[in-house]
């Protein structure tokens, strides 16, 4: 049942149907996926007159766009905002300059750095579960999924975990306001000031740049010159916005699935070796990001005439359920044998935090199921609400019997 978008009569643009799709509204969970799946089945590319951008729904086309950064640039990654007032680093930087920033950042977010902080991640996750295990219920989003990844993130970039509530508050305000309005401006300014003070502190204290992330940035060069403070601020803003909301959301969708699918939950509890493949499958089945690219030039893409300056939205939730790419694409198979999903994007801009996110998801699933192996959704599924834009669950009420496994 498609209710939230309209096909605008017989209108078409360069052979593509015109739709009116407002992506930033709250809806019951699953409706976004159903609509985007229906769009993919009907056509590979649309023009969305709400926001004025192209919408690409299929996997192979999406891969081509990710792998063609010369035409499909990162000048903006927000489909409805072709000329953003901010510049995120590295997201809004194009190759070849982008490579320099990624080389500075990749090491800190690579598998070895992530493995080093895994024990800390585990203890932060246990702390969050300790807080709720004896209650017999919790809002997973706020109390677990949104609690420990922030501390892990701060650990990775050598900031005090006690500052986690500040980061949670800033990111929630910014995402809930879709980055506009007075509340978002206050949150943005406060977070910016935090990082300004941080840079000043690290300049004074002269920490070892192998041991402190901010000092590493201060010691880094771009085009042969020290990285400007403005760049460092833009890196921190991006890391905060890209790293916190997404892990919380990915874990929340995983727990929602397992709370409502007893056989798979049983398998996860009794065969924890399945967790890595289950994580890839949850990433594939519940992509969060409606990613944008901006055309650097007029370009004919698979018969569609696109114009310089226009935006393209890559509708990853539809793309990752494309039956041309995945067998039984609409089913969640926690032991899927072939899973080359693009939920972390692709091409040069592949999510910097993907290794971190995987580790946090593994820790989150392992620790939860050791402590609370049997649990259920504490409300009808129709009452679980999904935020549009960057998909996320507003809350996830779970409950379990006390004394049974806790």
């Amino acid at each position: 049942m498609i209710e939230h978008y309209e096909v605008a009569g017989a209108a078409s643009r360069s052979g593509c149907p015109v739709i009116h799709l407002d992506t930033v509204v709250d809806r019951p969970v699953g409706e976004w996926m159903a609509d985007l799946n229906a769009l993919r089945e009907a056509h590979p590319i649309y023009w969305n007159e709400h926001g004025n951008y192209w919408v690409v729904t299929r996997a192979q086309l999406t891969r081509e766009i990710f792998q063609n950064p010369v035409v499909f640039t990162n000048d903006s990654i927000s489909p409805g905002d072709p000329d953003p007032s901010y510049k995120w680093i590295p997201s809004n930087i194009n190759p070849p300059l982008h490579v320099q920033y990624r080389q500075i950042l990749n090491h800190a977010f690579g598998p070895a750095s992530v493995a080093r902080i895994e024990p800390k991640a585990r203890s932060y996750c246990r702390m969050a579960i300790d807080e709720i295990v004896d209650k017999g219920h919790c809002d997973y989003v706020a109390e677990v999924g949104g609690a420990f990844p922030t501390r892990v993130f701060l650990e990775l970039i050598d900031l005090p975990w006690q500052d986690a509530p500040l980061f949670v508050s800033w990111t929630e305000t910014l995402f809930n306001a879709f980055f506009s309005g007075p509340e978002a401006a206050v949150a943005f300014d406060e977070s910016r000031q935090y990082f300004v003070d941080l840079i000043a502190d690290r300049r004074r204290s002269k920490l070892d740049h192998d041991r402190d992330f901010t000092s590493h940035l201060l010691a880094s060069t771009v085009n042969g010159a020290p990285m400007p403070d403005e760049d460092i601020l833009n890196i921190f803003n991006q890391l905060m916005l890209a790293g916190l909301d997404t892990v919380k959301s990915a874990l929340s969708y995983s727990l929602l699935y397992l709370a409502t699918h007893d056989a798979d939950r049983y398998r996860i509890v009794h065969e924890p070796s399945l967790i890595p493949s289950a994580i890839e499958e949850f990433l594939r089945a519940y992509p969060l990001v409606l990613e944008g690219r901006k055309l650097s030039q007029d370009f004919e893409f698979h018969g569609v005439q696109m114009r310089q300056g226009e935006m393209v939205m890559l509708a990853l939730p539809a793309v990752m359920h494309d039956p041309d790419q995945f067998d039984r694409a609409d089913e969640v198979l926690i032991d899927r044998q072939k899973n080359n999903h693009l939920s972390f994007g692709g091409g040069a801009h592949r999510c910097l935090g993907s290794h971190l996110a995987r580790m946090e998801m593994a820790v989150g699933l392992e620790e939860w199921h050791q402590r609370i192996p049997d649990y259920r959704l504490a409300c009808p599924i129709g009452e679980v609400i999904e935020r549009g834009g960057q998909l996320s669950l507003r809350s996830l009420p779970l409950e379990w019997d006390l004394g049974a496994g806790s």
Binding site: R63, P111, P276, N340, F344, A348, R350, S354
Partner: protein
């Protein structure tokens, strides 16, 4: 048999060395160490190499007969 990794396409997803840990490994940045080169497959590793290729989101990994 050789396995090769296209340096232009490989973007450090890390799926290959995760599903074929005995065959492939990451560098400090998270790229597979053989990015941009072709290496002979050790005996008995063809299945692992095929899996690595199948899991690569970029289609960067190719297997070729000698």
């Amino acid at each position: 048999m050789k396995v090769s990794v296209d340096a232009q396409k490989c973007s450090g997803h890390g799926r290959c060395y995760t599903v074929a840990p005995g065959l492939l490994e990451p560098d400090d940045e998270g790229f597979v160490t053989i990015r941009g080169s072709a290496v002979d497959l050790p005996p008995g590793s063809a299945a692992d190499a095929r899996k690595a290729a199948e899991w690569c989101p970029e289609g960067a990994i190719t297997l070729t007969d000698d």
